[in-house]
Symmetry: C2
């Protein structure tokens, strides 16, 4: 098992028919969620914000192909109806079905299709590798590969599936993440741990800086492995979310390289995160990474416009491929060996480490390169 089915008490299945997919995941327990902060949130997000307050889920149901966003009151009713369909098929209470949608916005859900798919897959729910892979595939849109993570500890596990391409795109780029643990964690603690983990992982993935109307991450704790120390659980949850987040970045629309930026020496973690996110969002940095062009000045210039105070004359900058690294700037002085730097940019991963020299905090953000393919994918989407 490589993700959710590695967790005690989880069964899943999924179906994908053309653009339209449906995943069903059955797992009872305490639950928490984090949601998009886009003002234009989809009705399904409103519904889930209300329902997750109960702190309990019995199942999760997610469709791809239609985001049911910008669909007003009808969209809200449709999301409730979708939950009712899942509840009926699985024999649970509709209030305990988490629903999520991803796909094109401004269109209504095809409820007859969802009912049909749900009825067909509900009897197939299982706990094996095929099951978790089918569920992960069912929620994919422009994703090229399914995304799995499983973090095993001695006494418990945390597993998740996700689809990208990353807290970002109002269309097929919505991020959905469904995470499970067999640790016994009460809903309030689960919520705090999930928020903290999401802040450090999903919220630090930038594919293009856009933010979806439908982003959602849900975590259910089946409790079957019993109580565990909360800090240990939180670390495992964050590790699981980080694995998922990196996969989202790597599979960014049109991406050929993963971009990882760590900012150190900041006066706060949030300041470090702001600078790191600004760098991974910069189209100029992203295109330089694509072209394996060691144009480090773009990294420095992006940091300079992040809105965080630091002394530009006192920064250090390194670049690497995740294994080796070379210094580019030391104490504000250029020390770059361009040929060496370029050779380190040929692989699948490009890492920048920037030390602002003004404090002790750090943060990492992930992104990807910007390619002609991104333009091609997004230039002709509706039609």
């Amino acid at each position: 098992m490589k993700s959710i089915c590695g967790v005690e008490g989880v069964a899943a299945w999924g179906v994908k028919e053309g653009k339209f997919g449906l995943a069903l995941i059955r797992a009872e327990g305490e639950a928490a969620g984090v949601f998009t902060s886009n003002l234009m949130k989809a009705p399904v997000i409103r519904l889930m914000e209300e329902r997750i307050r109960r702190g309990r889920l019995a199942a999760v149901m997610a469709n791809s192909g239609c985001a049911n966003a910008y669909t007003g009151e009808r969209g809200y009713r449709d999301a409730g109806e979708m939950a009712a369909i899942g509840a009926e098929c699985l024999g649970v209470s509709p209030e305990e079905v988490g629903v999520a949608s991803t796909g094109i916005i401004g269109r209504y859900l095809d409820l007859p299709l969802i009912r049909d798919q749900s009825r067909r897959i509900a009897p197939l729910l299982a706990r094996n590798e095929e099951a978790e892979t089918r569920a992960a595939r069912a929620i994919m849109t422009t994703d090229l590969s399914e995304k799995h993570a499983l973090v095993k500890r001695e006494t418990f596990s945390v597993g998740g599936i996700t689809k990208g391409s990353g807290m970002i795109a109002p269309n097929m780029g919505t991020m959905l993440a469904f995470i499970y643990t067999d640790a016994e964690v009460p809903a309030p603690q689960l919520r705090d741990a999930l928020r903290s983990a999401a802040r450090r992982t999903f919220n630090r993935v930038v594919v293009d800086g856009d933010m979806s109307t439908n982003d959602i991450a849900l975590c259910t704790a089946t409790g079957m492995a019993g109580k565990v120390p909360l800090p240990e659980f939180s670390r495992a949850l964050e590790e699981c979310c980080r694995h998922l987040a990196v996969q989202i970045a790597m599979d960014g629309e049109g991406a050929t390289k993963l971009l990882e930026v760590t900012v150190r020496g900041a006066t706060s973690e949030e300041a470090a995160a702001t600078v790191a996110r600004t760098i991974v969002s910069s189209p100029l940095v992203k295109t330089a990474v694509y072209g394996a062009d060691p144009n480090w000045g773009r990294v420095i210039a992006a940091a300079g416009r992040a809105g965080v105070e630091f002394d530009p004359e006192n920064v250090d900058l390194w670049m690497g491929d995740g294994k080796e690294s070379v210094p580019l700037v030391k104490g504000g002085e250029i020390v770059v060996d361009l040929a060496r730097a370029k050779s380190l940019m040929q692989g699948k991963k490009v890492v920048f480490v920037l030390d602002l020299g003004s404090g002790k905090d750090e943060a990492t953000a992930w992104g990807c390169d910007l390619t002609e393919k991104y333009v091609e994918i997004n230039g002709r989407y509706t039609t």
Copy 2:
């Protein structure tokens, strides 16, 4: 005359040799400047911030091909030396020479080349159409066409040249603007008028959201046309800057279409500008414009993440080509005619008007589409 030479008291010339250009503009008078707010500002910006406090310029000298940025104390001395070279060639005080640089960062100025170019063109300074065009061409980098504006009023004129591609790129994308008027305007009023105009024009152009280390706009008032009412001058200056700003957006790297977004019904002009800038910056909106894809949901979703409060259920959205327009959303209801919308996106200009329905203020921002060509231009720059 179509730009700076339409203003009494201005003479200019320029030379462009490969990537390396130099423009000289002679015009004495009260002067003001606005500068990049990037922390990583080039040494030449520091020098000019100091010198412009005198409120007077006798000439402007700008080179392209090397930004003299991230070059520390040597860069600062080199910028001063560049001003001294211009001063010597033109017979004015070095403190009254405005200098500006654009090009690759992390490299030192080629002062012998600048001296040579300066000596050759100083004797050629003239006040005619060829002169202003040569000056505009000399400062171009990745720009495909020179950018001119001349606003004529009954008693005075305001003219300017600029290069893009727009408050944005730390390399060849630096924005330089040199604006002249023959109105008599004292330096403090000139500064206020220039700041206000830049805020509403240059600061609302987004090509890729990056911000240069070298952006600078200078305005000199020769006073030869005598006193004019300040509000009238301010309007003319803003109009001139707007013409220049739109040209920068149209000539954005790889651009095929101008994108204009007006946000109305906001609680403040700044809120409207924030939403408008977020929309023109959105890679998803930009790629949709490129593909003539009427994917209006991306406009709404970008507005929703701009950080400005409004009621998503109460917005109106129109789209047009600058001549005709069609409603897409009215009072939160989708009213789009997709075929008609698509046909309006075929031209060189795409306009969105979004009414937030929450106030009386408005603002316009300009950008361009995102194309494969942008990626190609920026993916292989240094090498």
